[in-house]
Subunit: 186 residues, 2 copies
DNA sequence: CATGGTTGCGGAGACACTCTCCGTTTTATG
DNA sequence: CATAAAACGGAGAGTGTCTCCGCAACCATG
């Protein structure tokens, strides 16, 4: 028999996510976890029970955003020409980083660490970009010999938080550079 | 009147750089500075006197490597066709990160933080890539509307330490993708 | 409601890292 | 040597991480 989950635990979990998102956006991926707990009004123990490691908290904070992104990929796949869909999705990726204050270093951790390969968000992002690239490969617009994730990694490199104020424009130009450069030779 | 600099200070400075390079390669850019001092056999105070901040130490550690890279850029510029030179230099960049265990996050700090724009190493790298791209623009191989540094940032994104074991191959493919994709339209 | 079993809370505290201050030691020079 | 300048070292204050466990809050049940 399953007992109903405690209401206070649920409340705390949500409050932690809110405050953490704010803190990560303001202070970067190394924001103090004890400080987040203090702002929420709970003890450090509570925070660490819900999210045993910094990585898990970061991931929980951005999971919704990432899954929305992955879902958008599916929709683009079904409603647009292959390479248009890919291009649109990469643009959306850039916009999401900019608008939702997704912090690039955090994403880097998520996309870069092989230990997290089987992690839910990673898997969905991976599947999204792979499906988009696959369609473009089949339609003959893109070579088949590249790791789709590299396109995202390249964008993340440019989306570094600390970079110049016009990084978003740079990133959008880079999207086209990557797509044009990925055409089959000949 | 100038006094001859003390021999022990010089020795310590060099030992710190050696040990720090090792420590950064092994533990990443957040390696403990006190631990580095301990391994060198000096007090923390000594380390912090020579290198007041982590960034300055990182930079001192990699300055020689970066300046070598920048110098190679000049040589390529003078001895090769424009776009061959650019390509060769980007390859060398990737190889240097791989071989010398230059850590990508550290470079990211160096290239990403606008506060360091006037820093010596940054300036030299910036000048190198700018000169190479400029020649390719003039020869008609590359568009003029992109920030040369973005090419490096994109490579760094892929060169993330934690990424897959074949990142080097990915990075080399990415070099060509970036160059092909940077051709003028039409 | 009252009660009891369970779940979750909170914060004290051990440990690690950062960075500074200043008494002591080492060095270069006359 | 003697002396002043330069550099050293490590104690220690401040901050962050993470754990442990006594205690409080909560959900089910009669």
């Amino acid at each position: 028999m399953q007992r109903k989950p405690r209401a206070d635990a649920q409340r705390n979990r949500e409050r932690i996510l809110e405050v953490a998102k704010e803190a990560f956006a303001r202070h970067g991926a190394n924001a103090s976890l004890d400080e987040i707990a203090r702002q929420v009004g709970v003890g450090p123990g509570t925070l660490y029970r819900h999210f045993p490691t910094r990585a898990e908290l970061l991931q929980a904070v951005y999971r919704a955003e990432l899954e929305k992104l992955a879902a958008a990929g599916q929709k683009f796949s079904q409603t647009m020409a292959p390479t248009d869909a890919l291009r649109a999705w990469l643009f959306l990726f850039v916009d999401t980083i900019a608008a939702k204050q997704l912090i690039a270093p955090a994403l880097n951790t998520l996309l870069g660490d092989p230990k997290k390969v089987f992690e839910a968000s990673y898997a969905k992002m991976h599947q999204a970009i792979r499906a988009l690239v696959k369609r473009s490969v089949e339609s003959g617009d893109i070579r088949g010999d590249l790791d789709p994730m590299d396109l995202l990694r390249a964008l993340i490199g440019v989306s570094n938080v600390a970079s110049a104020p016009d990084w978003q424009a740079s990133a959008r130009r880079l999207v086209d550079i990557l797509i044009i450069g990925s055409r089959p030779v000949g």
